[in-house]
Amino acid sequence: MNELALIVFTPLLAGVLAWLLNVRGLREAIGVIGAAVPLAYAAMLHEKAAQGLSFALNLGVFNMTFALSQLSWFFLGIAALVGFSAVLGLVSTARGSYEWLFALMSLTGAFGVFLANDLMTFFIFWEIMTFASFMMVLRYNRQASLKYFVLSIVGAYAMLIAIAFIYVKVGSFDFSAVRSAFIGDAYARMFGSATFSSGELMALFGLFLVAFGVKAGLFPLHVWAPDAYSETNQSYTAMFSGVLSKTGIYGFIMMYILMGTRLMVEFGMFRSAPKFGYIIAFLGGLTIIVGGLLAALQEDIRKLFAYSSISQVGYILVGIGVGTALSMQAALFHALSHALFKGLFFLIVATIVYRTGKTTFADMGGLAEKMPFTFAMAFVAILSLAGIPPLVGFASKWVLFEAVISQNLPILGGMVFFGSAIGFVYLIRFTYAVWFGQRPTDLDDTKDAPLPLAVAMAILALFNVVLGIAPGLVARELNRIFGRDIIGGNLFVLDLGFGKYNALAILTYLIMGIAIAGLIYLLGARARKVPVTDTYQSGNPVTMEYNLTIRRNFFLPLKEALSGWLRISFDRTYRDIGAWVEDFGEVMRNYIYNGNVQSYAWYLLLILLILAIWGV
């Protein structure tokens, strides 16, 4: 059987088996194998990706086609790696076979999306993925899952309409056929006549923007993500945020590949970015800011990382929107590092929730002593997300900053920098409130991470470190996607032509600095061991409203400063629209469907009259 088919369908098969057998121990083994097989195959296919690989499944009505390209291999690799780690985490945290079935089903959906070679297959697996992740949220919180479902449905219909529209005009679902049709149309547009009018193109772009924007968590459509990410199994969220949000990113890239030329010809440029791309990038920038600010104001760890995940996806969208080869590479690079550190973060949150059963900052503190391994992993993740060299988060953010700055886009640059600053703000809170400071007495016998979660975290942390020290590994893959050397340098050095980043040198300086500090400590520092119950706040008595501890309402001043803006909530807007529709329906029901037979007779008469006047 074909490798691609194995990759796509093994998780689903394993999920169904695990669900049917439902024997404790056995279902975990089957599930882990189901996630390990695609990972192994993805690793083996690395060399084959260059020459391409395809597979078609005849369903009688139409062919389901899959193909492997360099680009899809890159995303497949991310999905397989993070998916495998998340499934390992599930071994500890899954509450039953139900979760195994749907977690693995959503993995199949993501693989299918990345490997699809025609629009219909893309859509089908997109929906499998959405359905499975909806079921995962449904188990934990109905409200959150419904919000996710409604927004996903809006996105799915938008995509379906767009696909149908393309099919009507082009006559094929196949990616290569659609692509060449759009490129041909771009030339036709330059010489006068084109198949797609400018209004139709705008509609197509808008539909795809909604469809992929929902999944990626683009700014006004992000409202489902904080609830859905936090109200599900946290190990699964590692996959949810790490892999499933990447399908939206992949969708945007596919849109570029399929219809980018045509859109560029039609709408022209804004400064040095294509105009349609600038819209994506600007919304991505807003996503960064909104997600970052809201992350800083959360009191719940899961919510904090959900918003932070939204914010980080904003970077990727900025990179995609700017539209140069370098910024595209930066976006792909950040997609990889986002999956790595966000997957790690959610596994850490899963461990904390699993071991303590608490989710709010107010209940945490001083856990570093009790969970040293998890703390070490959290340390890696924090450094990576905040963008501290020599971790992978720094390398990808650096390339992205350079890409935006070099294109002379000051507003986007400002947004991206602001996002990084706010990233520090919320991470400091996580670092201090959970790991340091006074420990509540009920956390005194907290144990460290269970083995499967520890292994899963270790895998992701290892990649965070290794790819951070040797960013050239990723750069080489990215260059292979584009077929030319856009990011130069060697294994440890990234060279963009106008700027250089040497990870090895920084690592050396860092180790030297730490060594010197350690030497000073050993030789002469008069250090006193501070027990966790011996840390002070400032001398003043602290009121609850203005509590100065970092655990409760730490960013209250920020919240007050932003209160005017916080009142504008898209979440509330959508809810208002929903309530308005419901009210409207109620009014219509009361006045028209009033239970009076005689008024129904009147309606009948009126309709007959109208039909008669029309001459039916």
Partner: protein
């Protein structure tokens, strides 16, 4: 010039419709329905009428060419039966309504239903 049959049939339908739409007493509405039904039957029969021909019963001297259209007559036979059945059922419903609410005014019944 519209045929008098059509005019009469349609007038009956409209009279029945008026009763159904405007009258508040349930029995009057049912009477309206019956009138409407009669009008519909008349209309159907008059559609099938061919001027100067006799009943469609094949006998001495009357072939298929001398008869009026038989199909509307079959249709109307069916419709009469259905009409009687629905009227009987509606009347029994009216009796039950009167027993339950003590009135036949439709507005009153709607209010009491609450």
């Amino acid at each position: 010039m519209i045929s008098v049959y059509y005019f009469g049939a349609i007038s009956l339908i409209l009279i029945g419709l008026y009763a159904v739409l405007v009258k508040k007493n349930l029995l009057k509405i049912l009477v309206g329905l019956s009138i409407m039904e009669t009008g519909v039957n008349l209309l159907l029969i008059s559609i099938g009428y061919v001027s100067g021909r006799s009943a469609p019963i094949l006998s001495e001297g009357i072939g298929p060419n001398q008869a009026v259209d038989p199909i509307p007559q079959a249709l109307v036979l069916t419709a009469i039966v259905i009409g009687v059945a629905t009227t009987a059922m509606a009347l029994s419903a009216a009796i039950i309504l009167y027993e339950k609410y003590g009135t036949l005014n439709v507005d009153e019944i709607r209010r009491l239903r609450g």
